[in-house]
Structure formats: C-alpha cells, structure tokens
Symmetry: C2
Subunit: 502 residues, 2 copies
C-alpha cells in the first residue's frame, strides 16, 4: 500500500507502461476543433467506433451523461410528465403521415429491411425521433378530456444518418430524451412548450453552468411538423452557436395525421394540441467546449462524477502511512457529507503527474495532503477553475466539509460567470449589414450578433448565403422599441440573434 520508491525512479518507465500521454494538447486558441477532439480522447470521454458516425461513450464520459440525465429526469418528472418506452422501429408508412415531418427526416433515416433471415413486408425505420409512433399510441389512449393532459417522456437512442459527424455534437446514433404531450387546448399546449423551454434553460444554466440565449426559432429553422419551435442556444468559445435543446408546439398537426380525438366537456369531438421537446448527448459537447481549457476538461461540480480528488504527497516511507491515513479519513468524511470524492493512491506516480492527470479529467477541486499538512492539521485546496497560486487555499484537515462545499458552490458559480463573460464579450449589437458581414468574415466564428430583422425569410436567406450565419433565436421578451431590418431597412419590431452554428 505504501510507496517505497523515490519519485524519480521508474517514473518515466511507469508513464510508458501505463501508456498515459501527458504531452500538452493543441492550444484551444490555435485549433479549436483539434483541441476538442484531443480533450475527448485524453480525458477518455469517448472513442471512435467501427460504425460510421457512431461513437463509444467511455465510462468517464458516460458518467457525466448519467448525472445530467438523473437531474433533468427529476426536473421533468416534477412537471408531471412520466417516463415510458416506445419501439425503436417505426413502420416506414408512419413517417409519411405528416407531410413536413417526412420531408425533414426521410433523407436521414436508417432502414431495416431484413429480420430473422427474411425480407420484411414493410421496411422499418430506426427512429430519428418518435412523434409518429407515440402519436399512433396516443390515438389508442386518448378518448375523453379526462385523458388529458397526457404527458410522456422517453430516454432512448435515436439514429440520424448525418453526413458529417463530430463526437457528441453530431453523431449518427445519439442518446436523448424526448417529451411528448397532448392537451385539450392550444393555450395549454403553448404554455407547456414554454414551460419546458424554461425547464431546459434553468437546467443548463444552473446545472451545467452554460449561459444561454433563448427564444423562438424562425420559420426556416423550425422542427419538421411544428407550428413553433423554441430553443436554448449557447455560444461556444470559437464564436459559433450551439443549439442545446428545443421545445416544439405542434398544434394539431400530428393529432390530425394520426386521428387522435377526444370528447370535450360538451361531448364534442376535438383534436388535442401537442408539444414535443428534447435535449441530447450533444450537451456533453457543450460542457467540454464551454468550460475546457488548454490543461483539459473543466467540469462544473454539479455534473462532475468526481467533484474532489485527494492527492496524498510524501517522499519517505515512514511519512506515507500517516499521510495516507489522513487522506482516507478526509475521503470518508467528505463522502459521508455527500461529496463525490476520490482518493488517488496510485503508486509510482509523481504528484505533478497526478495533478496534470486530474486537471485533464476536469475534476473541480483537488486536495493536497503532505506530511507537514498532517502535522499542522491542514490541507491545500486547489481549484480547477483558477490556475496557480490564486486558486489555492488552506483548510483544517479535520474540518474540510464546509470549505469544500463552499468552494464547489463557488466553482460552479465562477464557471458560469467565466462563460457568461466570454459569451457577452463575443456578442455584438449591430445596426449595419456591412458590420455584420465584416464580423462573420473575420477570424473566429464571428460570435453572436444581435440585430433587428424584419422577419422576412428573404432577408434571413440573404444573411445565410452571404455570411453563413443563421437565425439562432428570437428572444421572447422584446422591448417596445422598433428599428430597421439590418438587411432590407424595413421597419422591424423584433431583434434576433444570428450566428454561425454547429
């Protein structure tokens, strides 16, 4: 159990044997895409798979997803929705029942044509989303206004045959939750749509520490089959926006397509009004990009599988015993206090190596305990969000709980603030189309621009074609001021966020 070798001895051999790569990663500022891929590999979050466009979620990556999922699941259930599970396969004919829906999804589906050694009579589509099969079942379950609202959520895998894929951000198979609800009135369904937008917004800002803009999508950016799509969008450090979640008001489009009807209080047969809403494993990409730095991943404490790592430090054998005992006591005390803590008692590795390793893996707080610390009843607490001396403080070894909990709260808050400052400083309120073009042509992704837009799809199209920026969100609350559209100069009542997008 106790380290008897001096650190110099065998360190390099150990490194080689463990095949741990501690070279620096490509700096984020130098090549953002390369940095992103390297972080994912080096922090062991995911790996490429032999199946086109599909990744493997390794345990350290999947643990982030599990924490995120459990918390969001709790919040979704609080709204009254309940989990269920529907088939992976959807009859191809179902997809064709809603005109816009088939247009949106047919080009990117995977199709099962053979089962049990025989060709199928009707091909089955691997779900790209489950509106069609869920609404088919809703038609069996909804008969009376007493059956409404019906609020279902599903955690599952979906498949979309994307041309260009990137780990977490765009993969052929991904994991997500999809909520599907049916309501007696349009107003109630619209309230649900906006409620779920707010559930997503607060979850992503509070739990993942990712700042957002949010609002309506333009008609061009709507979900296929929706009357209105709402979105939460974050701005990545490379100046491109990432859609983090969407909530759709479907009107009665799917109810008509799948003949879902109910008898209202007056015994009249009506179509329910519906919503659907989802977030996916793409959120892992948002966490990595928003918070990571050139030393590796930085995980918000709320979502980190390991919130605190304890690194015991000693040189002489006789010191090791008391240091390890103190480290174990600290681990026990913090675990009992509900902190997710890990003790790094690996042998033959230098403290410096371990520091780098845990920094790469994004653990929010490190506790260093050496012989002198034990003697002085002290420990050093080093924050992942603030580098160097500035991020270090001391605490009493036998009273770690309060300072650790306070620091975790503070780190969560600070990661959000750092990201918010970065987003704000890359958000531009522009009034001239020339400025917009210049901004999108410059270095970096161009950032988030906040402009008056008249709402005309032609103006939106011009921006997209000439700058590659698209409408990300039209904020729900607008002040009463009016301005002129940045493209056509017509009077405009609404400002909108445009950006190049992932």
């Amino acid at each position: 159990m106790i380290n008897t070798a001096s650190f110099a001895e065998g360190h390099l051999n150990q490194l080689m044997a463990e095949n741990i790569d501690q070279r620096k990663v490509t700096p984020r500022s130098q090549d953002f895409a390369a940095w992103y891929n390297e972080i994912i590999a080096r922090a062991e979050l995911a790996d490429y798979s032999p199946v086109r466009g599909c990744i493997v979620f390794r345990p350290d990556g999947f643990a982030i997803w599990e924490n995120l999922r459990d918390e969001l699941d709790r919040r979704i259930k609080q709204t009254g929705a309940r989990n269920a599970y529907f088939p992976l396969f959807i009859p191809e004919s179902f997809l064709r029942k809603e005109a816009q829906h088939v247009e949106g999804f047919a080009p990117e589906v995977a199709v099962v044509t053979h089962g049990g050694g025989k060709e199928l009579e009707e091909p089955l589509v691997v779900r790209p989303t489950s509106e069609t099969i869920i609404n088919h079942m809703f038609a069996n379950w909804i008969h009376s206004h007493r059956d409404l609202p019906l609020m279902i959520n599903q955690w599952c895998n979906v498949v979309r045959w994307e041309m260009r894929t990137r780990p977490f951000l765009r993969t052929a198979e991904f994991l997500w939750q999809e909520g599907h609800t049916a309501h007696a009135t349009p107003a109630e369904a619209q309230r649900e749509t906006q409620l779920m937008l707010e559930v997503y917004r607060s979850f992503v800002e509070e739990f993942l520490a990712i700042p957002l803009v949010y609002g309506r999508k333009s008609a061009a950016e709507r979900f296929p089959g929706a009357e209105e799509t709402y979105t939460i969008e974050s701005l990545m450090p490379d100046g491109r926006a990432l859609q983090c979640g969407t909530s759709h008001y479907l009107g009665d489009n799917f109810a008509r397509a799948f003949e879902i009807r109910f008898l209202d209080e007056n015994n009249e047969l009506k179509y329910p009004h519906q919503t659907s809403w989802g977030v996916s494993t793409r959120l892992l990409g948002a966490i990595i990009m928003t918070h990571g730095d050139d030393q590796g991943l930085r995980l918000p404490p709320a979502v980190a599988a390991t919130q605190v790592v304890i690194v015991p430090i000693w040189r002489k054998t006789e010191e090791g015993e008391s240091v390890l005992a103190a480290a174990r006591a600290a681990q026990t005390a913090l675990t009992e206090a509900g902190v997710r803590v890990r003790l790094d008692d690996r042998e033959g590795l230098t403290p410096g190596f371990k520091f780098n390793d845990w920094e790469m893996r994004g653990v929010p707080l490190r506790i260093e305990i050496g012989p002198r610390d034990v003697a002085a009843n002290e420990a050093v607490l080093a924050r992942r969000d603030i580098a160097g001396r500035e991020g270090k403080s001391k605490a009493r070894l036998d009273q770690l709980m309060s300072p650790v909990k306070e620091l975790l709260t503070e780190i969560q808050r600070n990661l959000y603030q750092q990201a918010k400052s970065a987003m704000d400083s890359n958000t531009y309120r522009l009034d001239s189309y020339a400025d917009l073009k210049r901004r999108m042509e410059g270095e970096g992704g161009g950032g988030l621009v906040d402009i008056y837009w008249c709402g005309n799809p032609n103006c939106e199209l011009k921006i997209r074609e000439e700058t590659r920026a698209t409408c990300r969100a039209i904020p729900l609350s607008q002040n009463d001021a009016t301005g002129v559209c940045i493209v056509c100069g017509e009077e405009s009542r609404e400002r909108a966020y445009f950006a190049k997008a992932y």
Copy 2:
C-alpha cells in the same frame, strides 16, 4: 376539491366516461396466459405496438423497470463495474468472428441495409447482444496487465427477431443491462462470473421477492460462445420455469476472435479471460406472474412505484374537508419519511371502486381514512398481500410512519414467503423416469423436478424430446452423495433441476 355528490349518483356514468374496466379478470387458475395478458392491460403496464413483436412500456410498467434498474445499477457499480455506451449497430462481419456466437445469433438479427437514402456497403446488424463490438473496443483499450480488470456495464435496447413473442417475456426489442469484463487470469474471470450470479440472485430474491434456484447450465443451454453459463431460474405458478438472468464465463474465446492481448508482469503477451452477464425487462414478467392474483398485480414494496395509497372516505360534504386534510397530512408525513405514497382524491368514484383499482395496480398497502377515523385519530391499513379482514389493522393517524414501514417490510417478506411456498410445493425430487414423464404430462406446466442426471447430452435430449422439460440449472453446491441417472441408470454425481421453460 371537495366531493359534493353522493356516491350512488353518477358512479356508473363516471365509469363509462373514464372507460375504466372493472370486470373481473380471467382467473389465474382457469387460463394463466389469458390472466397474464389481462393483468398487463388492466394495470396499464404495457400495450401492443404496431411493430411486430415490440411492446410499448406504459408509465406504470416503466416505473417498475426504473426502480429495478436503479437498484441493480447501484449493486453492479458496487462491484467496480462502470457504465458505458456502445453503438446500436454492429458490422455484420463482427458477428461472424466467433463461430458459436454467429451460429447462435445470426438467424434472429434485424439488419439495416440502407442509410441516408443509400444502400450500405456492409449491412449493419442491430445488436442482439454486444460482445462483438465491445470486444473490438477492448482490443484498443487493453495493452498491459495494468489495464485489467476492465469491467464495463451497459444499459440499452437489444433486438432479437423472435418468432413467438409475449409481453415482457419474449419481445423482438427489449431493454437490458449487459456486463462485459476482462481479467488477467481464468480464475479471476470465473470468480467474477460467480460474483455476478450472486449479485443477481440476491437482487432478485431480496428486491423482487422472487425465490430462485440457480447454478450452471448444461452445455446444450449455454450462451453461444461461452465456456460456462450460470443462471438464476424461478418457477412460475403455471409450473413452468423462467430464466431470470445469466452470467457467462467466456474463457478467451472472444479475446482470440478479436485479438485482445496484454503484456503481463513478465512482459509476456497473453489473452485476457472474460465474462458477460445480463438481466432484462423479462424480470417484469417474472414479477407479474410470481406475485399477481385474481384481483390483479401485487408489487413487492421495494420495487413498487407507489408503495402506499391513501383513500379518503366520506359521504357528507362537511365531513370531506377534515378527512381530506387528514389524508393530506398523512401523505406529507409519509413522503417526508421516504415512503412513496399517493393520495387518491379523485372525485365521483366510490371507495370500493378505488380499492379495486389500486388492487389491480398492485399497490402493496392501502390506508383508509374516514370521518370516524379522523375523530378517533385512527386509520385503517389494508395489506394487498393478505385479502379481507385478516390483512387489515389500525394505526394512530398521527403516527403512521413506523407501522407503515414495518408493514412494507413485512409485505416484502411475506410475498417472498408465499412465492417460496408455492415453488417448494411444486418442486419434486424424483427418482424414476416414469414419474418424470407422468409429471410433465399432467395438468399444469409440470413444476420443477430435481433429479440425478449423469451429464450425458443424450439423456438430456431424451428428456427434452419426450417431456419438453429442459435442464434449467445444475446447483453449484451438491452434497457428496451419488445416485443413478434418471434416464440411463449410470452413476451420477450431480442433481439437476429440469422443467418446461418459458
């Protein structure tokens, strides 16, 4: 909020309007299969889907799965395994790499031949199990003895194109967990195989209150590609056995097929030895069949989404207020004590109707609160596991926590005992082949027979062909006695359980 109608009024109308079917189900003794299907429909656990052999898990059914999954996940993680996620699709060529594996699974796979509107160069199989793709990745991750043991678990959907399907018991798509581990030595892998068998056994007996027999499978019943398969088996009330979980020792079969090798301490290149193990949504079928009765589902408290339902009872409006207030107070107190409790304050339904409804849904404990109870600071506690007066007791309304918790523990214990008695009384230690044949030819499924079998596959085949019973499990601990094989009369060192199986 308060019920102003008398119970007689509107009751039948309400029933019609709510479309709730309170007719009796087909008795279990009369037609077990019909009873099973009716319980699933009436307790709203699942529904048939438009996709061949696939079911929809409705919220009340899925909630049981969620509770079961969360507890088993906790126990699996305690063994040191970590969750990960691998692709749904597997290149068809992978399946062919292990000879027995392809033979076992190729006939029942679903095959994706088209993606994104184009025919694929190599068809993709929808995973029937993930040994092949996971071991492909293991080959990338395992290089040194320091990388071992590698212990991975995955919760996911799998697809097997079964000919005859039954809800939960055998469906084309089902949900499960599959563990996959790699170890430096055969002994360590064998220990892991048996450890997971014990994790499954204790979980199913303790948490699901389902009694089991367990042991090795015969060679004929092994997992395709395994050296040894261990199983937990339960006996259903219709006298047929249900395989509830399996744990496989794979030897180095997959390591050789996928070229997984590691350098051991002496710098020699070796194949790791592996295991895989899984349980599935089939466990929901085991719960329903083991515990259900002619009034409906009976859920063990540990796994029940609702452990306690409170039914407030009153006739006069002025009574309603105090009864409902008392019911809400009880709900709050029990919820705070960690009990999963629900208040049935639906209006216009008789208490008798509600009692039947919750009995059908299997809620373990019902609390009845009426005006006289409120006045006397009392409540009636009615157990689902013991019908009528005998299952009823009284408790102080303001001190429900202890009696409720004690009763839930007692119900969990009693459901196990009832099931254990039923299994024991349908288990037969037989010494003559004529008795075995008679038993399997009689009414009912035949039960579980405990026989000496010499281990010769020909004797096993003869039993299967002549009685339809198969070898379910060869217990791990055998007393030292020897006997004669029930078929051939040769000396036999082991007893084995045979039964007709689901």
